[in-house]
């Protein structure tokens, strides 16, 4: 290198990374993660099979009896559960981001990234961007299966809006799992932790069944569970019904989670030795 760089004053402030460079770095890292998928298409199996298996299971196992309670049959349950499954999809994809990132983090290549003059956040933003693409893919599969088992799409703009809402909320949850991915020692522990948190949240919500018949304490829990408001908002958008209240609460959760967890994730990533 030139002598000029070698004699630069050591008390000058550090260089800043311009926004355009951030975007470029994130783009290069997104490409990396997309190449992984091309190299290893099996990594998309979860996004492909998850919506198929869950839709079939819930519709054919619980559909009849819950549908009856709803005052109809299986057809009525399909209309009820598909928006819920869409909400659930975001959560499961979000958990994947944590385990994948943990594995990635423990490989030597992360040291190289951290020794390059890039914003540390770029690595995380790229991960989230790719995971959102996987989520959209899973959602598309879900909608195809849903239509095959009898779901009626009545409101296309509403459908798109609920896809968008699930993506927004899903990405805010991804920051939580990214933090776990950075902080925890192994991918297995991230996954175990994820299940522990997600299972009660998913089942203790209005995703699969209306909370009306639940005991009081659980009903109270489901009412404040953000997955319920997300599912209810999606339901309202896709099949009609009240939307505004649930929509705002869901967006509020998304903003709050991102505002708190994104800086934590980036900080933990930056300072992890």
């Amino acid at each position: 290198m030139s002598a000029a760089t070698l004699t630069a004053p050591t008390n000058a402030p550090d260089a800043r990374i311009p926004l355009r460079a951030h975007l470029r770095h994130t783009g290069a890292l997104v490409r990396r993660n997309l190449l992984w998928i091309r190299q290893d298409p099996e990594s998309m199996f979860d996004a492909l099979l998850f919506p198929i298996v869950f839709t079939l299971l819930f519709v054919y196992v619980f559909g009849g009896s819950i549908g009856q309670a709803l005052g109809g049959g299986q057809d009525q349950y399909v209309q009820y559960v598909v928006p819920g499954l869409m909400a659930m999809m975001g959560m499961n994809m979000a958990m994947g981001v944590g385990t994948g990132f943990n594995t990635d983090f423990n490989s030597g290549v992360m040291d190289r990234f951290r020794s390059l003059p890039i914003g540390r956040g770029s690595v995380l933003f790229a991960k989230i961007a790719v995971e959102l693409l996987r989520m959209l893919f899973a959602t598309a599969v879900l909608m195809i299966v849903a239509v095959l088992v009898g779901f009626e799409i009545t409101d296309w703009p509403g459908l798109l809006a609920s896809v968008g809402l699930s993506a927004v909320f899903g990405s805010s949850v991804m920051w939580v799992f990214l933090t776990l991915g950075v902080v925890m020692k192994s991918a297995q522990s991230v996954q175990a932790m994820g299940f522990l948190v997600l299972m009660p949240l998913q089942f203790g919500s209005s995703i699969f069944a209306p909370p009306g018949s639940m005991p009081g304490w659980l009903e109270a829990f489901t009412r404040y569970n953000p997955l319920s408001t997300l599912a209810d908002a999606a339901r309202g958008l896709m099949t009609g019904g009240p939307v505004a209240h649930n929509l705002w609460i869901t967006l509020g959760w998304s903003v709050a989670l991102t505002a708190v967890m994104a800086p934590v994730a980036i900080h933990k990533f930056r300072t992890k030795s």
Binding site: M1, T7, A15, L35, D40, G108, R112, F113, L116, P117
Partner: protein, 341 residues
């Protein structure tokens, strides 16, 4: 922060380290390290496992921050100007730090883009470096299918993309077989030929001897010796005399005879059957003359007499009191070197 001014850095110093301390709990990975690497030289940092070598490299490449002291690389402070510093360094870690799922070419292209090279230039640089490190044929294959040596070469190529002023090589040949190790050495020598300043950590004496011009010996987080390699060897004192008789049949009688004379005083003469000569440790020129005189008087015809400086293994042993890499009973293990596995 006035401490910067207290430690004047030489104008031609590419790396300046003053009083560097890093603790992991009770473990002092670095316990006050000073180090200077002059521009265009290869500094070997030699020490056993757990000596703090990796911790030093991780601080210099801004992966971790020190608890005390400071480090300046190519004019940039490792703590206060990490982004500028990252632009002028290359890093090859102890374990090949390439993305195993990506093909070799994609690895290099990615790093080029992350170093802000325009697309076209990043492509050209990837092609050029693959060619130079003899990886062109494997360019499209996932790195996971590469042999250990290929992976290490790709790693070296990756650290050269940004045309770094200072290159950190953290145990670049650990875990490689001897033939592959020689390959990597050749590559490193070529890189040095391009004028890059190198800081190399190693546990292998042979590696330091092959690649480094100057040496810093570290043990348990402290620098215990430093200087030119020859200078260090001389400081430890003692030389080895290699006496080769014309007739290999004279080897054992010659060794026995030298032992009997009791000239050497240090240790006994030994026969090196591989090279067909007798090794005699000597302490002074007088002893050298005495040995030659005694052999001549005995009437054994000699093919050659050479003197050798001690090996770095011996240097380490005499400096630290224990063998390099030998288990240390009371020494705390360097947690970093474990954790990066």
């Amino acid at each position: 922060m006035k401490d910067i001014d207290n430690a004047p850095t030489a104008a031609d110093s590419a790396v300046t380290v003053r009083g560097l301390v890093k603790h992991y709990g009770e473990t002092k990975a670095l316990d006050g390290v000073d180090l200077d690497v002059r521009e265009g030289t290869v500094m070997g940092v030699l020490g056993p496992n757990g000596a703090g070598k990796t911790t030093l490299v991780r601080i210099l490449s801004t992966l971790i921050t020190p608890d005390a002291g400071h480090a300046v690389v190519a004019g940039y402070d490792a703590v206060r100007q990490p982004r500028q510093l990252r632009r002028v360094i290359g890093l090859t870690g102890q374990y090949a730090s390439v993305d195993e799922k990506l093909p070799g070419w994609e690895n290099l292209y990615l790093i080029g883009r992350l170093l802000d090279l325009p697309r076209k230039e990043a492509r050209a640089r990837a092609d050029e470096l693959l060619e130079r490190f003899s990886l062109t044929e494997a360019a499209k294959r996932p790195t996971a299918t590469y042999s250990g040596g290929m992976r290490r070469r790709l790693d070296l190529a990756a650290s050269m993309i940004g045309r770094p002023a200072v290159l950190f090589l953290d145990e670049p040949t650990t875990g490689l077989d001897p033939r592959t190790r020689n390959e990597v050495w050749d590559e490193v020598k070529r890189m040095v030929g391009d004028g890059v300043t190198v800081l190399l950590t190693t546990q292998y004496m042979e590696e330091a001897e092959q690649l480094a011009t100057e040496l810093t010996v570290v043990d348990r987080g402290r620098v215990i010796a430093g200087g030119g390699i020859e200078e260090l060897k001389a400081r430890v004192g003692g030389r080895t005399l290699r006496v080769r008789p014309v007739d290999p049949a004279h080897l054992r009688p010659l060794a026995a005879f030298l032992d009997e004379t009791g000239l050497t005083g240090l240790a006994t003469a030994t026969v090196d059957t591989r090279r067909d000569d007798v090794l005699v440790p000597i302490l002074s020129d007088e002893q050298l003359t005495a040995v030659v005189g005694a052999v001549t008087g005995r009437g054994i015809t000699l093919a050659s007499i050479t003197t050798e400086l001690p090996s770095l293994d011996e240097v380490f042993l005499s400096l630290t009191g224990h063998r390099a890499g030998a288990p240390q009973d009371s020494a705390p293990a360097d947690t970093r070197e474990e954790a990066t596995v």
